[in-house]
């Protein structure tokens, strides 16, 4: 696990006694909280602080996250960052549903990046998922959960958690409890029993006497009541906002150019900086002649950091021109021998040696495999997130206070990272969250070099500075999905049943807490071999489920063909009767026309992957184009996420996730030579285009009523194996190394 980049650079902060690091799991990836500072355990203090920060004149705060104005305005404060996945609209739907708010009065804004807005519901959800014991978590007092969330600086967006954790654990309850307080206030004012009152469109109604009171009229008094901690939630049959395709709140500003991303922030006197870090990760800046940059009109300063050089200028163009004029020397940190090939060689050696770092499974695998098992090696490359908005943060240090503006996936952890780097007291550091132009895991708190960089620059500059990473820097200094290998071994009986299955895989972290292997087998072994390169590796949308999904679902296909069995039937035979997985698989087979003829040259492939508690099965129909590249004609997808808050927004996530999965499978790879990344821009890191995308996607949600699963990530993993399996069906060529590129060419 990569440590936080601030670890070696923090000055001793004032007013803090030691910094503790706290790790917890998100999608199998350890997240390290940036620090700990003195706060009271009592939740009411957090609530008071929150109220003080957001309540204006004529505005009344309920349970931190909700503000009702006397003008009937409803403002919801979200501890999540909407990266484009639509979760903030979903959160607003959940709270407004239980509140019975008038939807056109509802506004959602980012919660301040302050400990009092730490995400308690998320902490509760994580604890429940980690322990598998929701009941235990529900027995933990809210004040303690709030304490934990604040200790972890928990304001993260990731792990497909916003609606299923924050939404269900907090926002629905806040809406319901506030509604009860408004009713109680109205009952007193109208002098009628509360039971005679109903609510609708931000109004409490007494039908008997034809009287009504607006929420705005009741808010001041209602806000003084203590809220019910366990309010009864609506029966889904009464929903009018949830399970509806409400238009996303953020979209209008994204079609007329008015949405302000971190890249767009500007203040008077601001300068623009751009930066180049050591091309070989782990290296340091050894020397640089600053004169060539200073000779460029508009360049004002060259700043040397430990492992990077930055150029400060009047605008981005002189800044990047200045940077390109420099010929800095960097050390290689002893990593010059690392290449894509050397990493795979190390992977092979680890598996051959056979000493696993983590082991899981059941049954006697050795006996089950027998003398002649089937064996196949799979390899996948580092993947770049390629968020469309390159990193851009603006920082200003003035009068002892540091302000930072931009988009990160955990605003509170971003603030705390800046606190550590600057050495300032937490009260003097403010992070202002802005709209994010894509992330997919890149802006998570464990690899926030840009926060360190912009803080260091701002602390020595007399004016505000916006640090923009060029796309070249973005590609070369990623926090990639790890390069990974797997050797899969299995034996199949003459009754076409798997007797034993072994998955030996190599990558930095174990995937055990995250990957779900849905098949019921007599003997299974999952062995993780740890290998770390010099690259920063992290969570890439759907995290371990992409590579593990590719390994297992490709190998299942190989086993089916070896057994002479249809791939859907073969999978069915290893799934539990009556299971959700089986239903999803059957549905995708039926909807895709599985088993019916395909046009000449095409093949169909199937894959079934569960991730973030959501089950997705996909059938891809593909051929090999004249250029030798895969051509995807049609994708049929069936999703069981339990239930869906916003069907159209969920649909968009599956559509886009599928395209991202296909994109990575077909053409994406970060490769290394001499310890440095070879790719330089989107021109040599090809993302799928409109023309390469499938013209037809049929997506269907089953809504089984199981506990709500995630939706942002689960659409990604099945695409790569379903495509590889389709190409095998079309050409007889098995692709075991990604990206596919022209490997299936005849």
């Amino acid at each position: 696990m990569t440590d936080t980049p601030t670890a070696d650079s923090a000055a001793t902060p004032v007013k803090r006694k030691g910094v503790k690091r706290r790790a917890f799991l998100i999608g199998g990836v350890a997240i390290v909280g940036a620090g700990l500072f003195g706060i009271s355990i009592a939740d009411s203090n957090a609530a008071k602080d929150a109220k003080a920060r957001i309540a204006g004149k004529g505005e009344h705060v309920f349970a931190t996250w909700l503000k009702i104005g006397e003008d009937d305005s409803i403002t919801i404060y979200s501890p999540h960052t909407d990266i484009g996945q639509g979760s903030n609209t979903g959160l607003a739907q959940m709270l407004a549903e239980e509140l019975d708010a008038a939807w056109d009065q509802v506004r959602l804004v980012s919660a301040p990046a302050e400990p009092s807005f730490a995400n308690v519901g998320l902490g509760r959800g994580f604890l429940g998922e980690m322990t598998g014991q929701a009941a235990i978590v529900n027995g933990i007092p809210a004040s303690f959960l709030s304490f934990i969330a604040r200790q972890m600086n928990l304001q993260i967006t990731g792990g497909s958690t916003a609606l299923r954790f924050t939404g269900q654990q907090t926002f629905q309850k806040v809406g319901a409890a506030t509604r009860l307080a408004l009713i109680e206030t109205a009952a007193k004012r109208l002098n009628v029993p509360a039971a005679e009152l109903t609510t609708q469109d931000s109004t409490v109604i007494h039908a008997k006497s034809s009287r009504a009171l607006r929420y705005g009229e009741l808010a001041a008094e209602a806000a003084t009541l203590s809220l019910d901690n366990a309010p009864k939630l609506k029966d889904p049959a009464q929903y009018r906002l949830m399970r509806q395709s409400m238009q996303r709140l953020d979209i209008p500003a994204k079609v007329d150019g008015t949405a302000q991303y971190g890249m767009d922030f500007a203040v008077p006197d601001m300068r623009v900086a751009t930066i180049m870090a050591a091309p070989v990760r782990g290296g340091k800046l050894t020397s640089v002649d600053t004169a060539p940059a200073m000779a460029i009109k508009g360049v004002e300063k060259v700043i040397k950091l430990d492992d990077a050089v930055a150029v400060i200028a009047k605008g981005y163009w002189p800044a990047i021109s200045g940077l390109r004029a420099l010929s800095p020397s960097f050390s290689d940190g002893g990593n010059a021998g690392i290449s894509t090939a050397s990493i795979f060689t190390a992977h092979d050696a680890l598996i051959a040696k056979g000493k696993a770092d983590n082991e899981a499974g059941e049954g006697d695998v050795k006996a089950g495999l027998g003398a002649k098992p089937m064996k196949a090696k799979y390899q996948v490359p580092f993947l770049h997130h390629a968020m469309m908005e390159p990193f851009a943060l603006t920082a200003h240090f003035k009068d002892g206070k540091l302000n930072i503006w931009g988009g990160m996936q955990d605003p509170l952890a971003t603030k705390m990272a800046a606190v550590e780097v600057s050495g300032l007291d937490a009260d003097n550091v403010t992070f202002h969250p802005m709209i994010i132009g894509g992330s997919f895991g890149r802006r998570l708190p464990m690899y926030m070099e840009i926060v360190t960089q912009v803080t260091k620059l701002a602390m020595q500059l007399p004016y505000p500075v916006k640090l923009i990473w060029s796309r070249e820097e973005e590609v070369a200094q990623g926090a990639y999905r790890p390069q990974s290998s797997a050797v899969l071994t299995a034996s199949v009986t003459d009754k076409k049943r798997i007797a034993a299955y072994q998955n030996d895989y190599v990558q930095p972290e174990s995937a055990e807490d995250e990957t779900v292997f849905p098949y019921i087998l007599p003997a299974v072994s999952r062995r993780h071999f740890a290998h770390v390169s010099n690259q920063n590796t992290g969570a890439w949308r759907s995290v371990n489920s992409t590579q593990q999904g590719f390994y297992n679902e490709s190998f299942m296909d190989e086993l089916a063909h070896a057994a002479g069995e249809d791939p859907v039937v073969f999978r069915r035979n290893h799934l539990k009767a009556g299971s959700r997985h089986l239903r999803v698989l059957d549905e995708v087979a039926a909807r895709s026309g599985w088993g019916t003829p395909v046009p000449a040259g095409r093949g169909r492939g199937v894959a079934l992957v569960e991730s973030f508690k959501t089950i997705v099965a996909q059938v891809v129909e593909a051929s090999v184009g004249e250029d030798g590249m895969p051509k995807v004609h049609k994708v049929t997808t069936v999703v069981d996420a339990g239930s869906i808050v916003n069907p159209d927004a969920a649909m968009a996530q599956i559509e886009g996730g599928t395209i991202m999965g296909l994109s990575s499978a077909i053409g994406e790879a970060i490769t290394l030579d001499k310890g440095a990344v070879l790719q330089s821009n989107l021109s040599d890191y090809p993302l799928l285009t409109m023309a390469q995308s499938p013209l037809f996607q049929d997506i269907h949600f089953l809504n089984s009523g199981a506990p709500m699963g995630g939706i942002g990530e689960p659409g990604v993993p099945p695409a790569a194996p379903a495509l590889a399996n389709a190409l095998f069906a079309a050409t007889g060529k098995r692709v075991r190394n990604l990206p596919i590129k022209t490997q299936a060419k005849g």
């Binding site: 990266i83 484009g84 639509g86 996303r248 953020d250 979209i251 500003a253 994204k254 079609v255 007329d256 150019g257 008015t258 949405a259 991303y261 890249m263 767009d264 500007a266 605008g315 981005y316 163009w317 002189p318 390629a386 968020m387 469309m388 908005e389 390159p390 709209i435 994010i436 132009g437 894509g438 992330s439 997919f440 923009i468 060029s470 796309r471 070249e472 159209d648 927004a649 649909m651 968009a652 996530q653 559509e655 886009g656 996730g657 395209i659 991202m660 994109s663 821009n681 989107l682 021109s683 993302l687 799928l688 285009t689 409109m690 023309a691 995308s693 013209l695 037809f696 996607q697 049929d698």
Partner: protein, 160 residues
């Protein structure tokens, strides 16, 4: 020496160095931030604007090249009374954007395509719409282009 040009129907005199890419003049000198920086090498299209009606990747055009020309950015698509362009309306109806960062460029490319072809076919869309979207909104972009050009049935068929 100032470069004379017209942005969104307004004559402007630009003071930027002549080699400065049009993108940075639009964003930093004129403060029109709807046009985005994505790659700097004309690979992604997030910076697409119209130069004399032609879709142009502004990150790779020196501002000196647009002297005397007429430039339209996403901010200039609305009509004078603030009404959204039909393509922008179609984008909202189809709920196209996710992160939204590439969408100004996508919309500018789509408007240019529609102005040129009237009712673009799927093949014409594939050929013209080469802007990158990492969120994978392509199916909805296609649907919105069809819808904006009265090809509702096609929008349905191309729909997911």
């Amino acid at each position: 020496m100032a470069i004379q040009t017209s942005i969104n129907g307004k004559a402007v005199a630009l003071s930027a160095e002549p080699d400065t890419p049009l993108l940075w003049v639009i964003r930093e000198e004129l403060g029109l931030t709807g046009t985005k920086f994505g790659c700097g090498v004309a690979a992604c299209g997030a910076c697409t604007v119209h130069v004399d009606g032609e879709p142009t990747r502004s990150c790779s055009v020196p501002v000196s090249d647009v002297a005397g020309k007429s430039i339209t950015t996403i901010e200039g698509l609305k009509s004078a009374d603030g009404t959204l362009h039909a393509v922008q309306k179609a984008w909202i109806a189809a709920q196209v954007p996710q992160c939204g960062y590439c969408q100004s460029g996508q919309i500018m490319a789509a408007v240019a395509l529609i102005e040129k072809t009237g009712r673009p076919s799927d093949a014409q869309i594939d050929e013209a719409m080469t802007n990158i979207c990492r969120c994978g909104t392509y199916p909805r972009i296609r649907k919105a282009i069809h819808a904006a050009t009265g090809q509702a049935a096609k929008a349905q068929e191309g729909a997911v």
